[in-house]
Symmetry: C2
Subunit: 102 residues, 2 copies
């Protein structure tokens, strides 16, 4: 079964980027015990100060889908939504290997 990779961009409402980064880092921390989640990397860029990029690697698309209904996920999503002006799925990928990937 192929691994499942995502590269998403979150555009935030003005001045809300760092607050969203905090929530996404909480989401990443909640994945520490979720072995199906191999990478959940939160990134910013000086070029676009109101955006956050998240790169994720999952054991499968199903595992990613299931994670959206894990305990606490809804609460995190609920806290994040008011900060978000838009979300762009830049790429859906198939991670084939490399450093950081099992």
């Amino acid at each position: 079964m192929s691994k499942f990779g995502l590269y998403n961009k979150f555009m935030t409402k003005e001045g809300k980027r760092d607050e969203l980064v905090g929530i996404l880092l909480e989401a990443a921390a909640s994945m520490e015990q979720v072995t199906d989640c191999e990478i959940y990397s939160v990134n910013v860029s000086d070029n676009e100060p109101e955006s956050v990029w998240v790169y994720e690697v999952w054991s499968s698309a199903g595992a990613h889908q299931a994670s959206l209904s894990l305990e606490g996920a809804a609460a995190l999503i609920g806290r994040a939504m008011p900060l978000i002006a838009g979300v762009e799925r830049i790429h859906t990928l198939t991670p084939v290997g490399g450093k950081g990937i099992s």
Copy 2:
């Protein structure tokens, strides 16, 4: 000092994707002992069968720059170049944390 993130797209010459994936996985393997390299993830996509995406996280921009002159890097680059039709630096990022990042 900020970590340094890269998200690059390699467009390959026709039929050369898997060969390039192999070389990029060799590059990733060569990073196993390079502690400054935290993530070197090689990805493909069904949507674009002649492209390869690499997401990297480094301890710093300088560490990434230095890696280009590591032993073996030039040989790998030399083997990869004839396979590549183009390279697109999609994003230069500042990884702020998450699962898979120290």
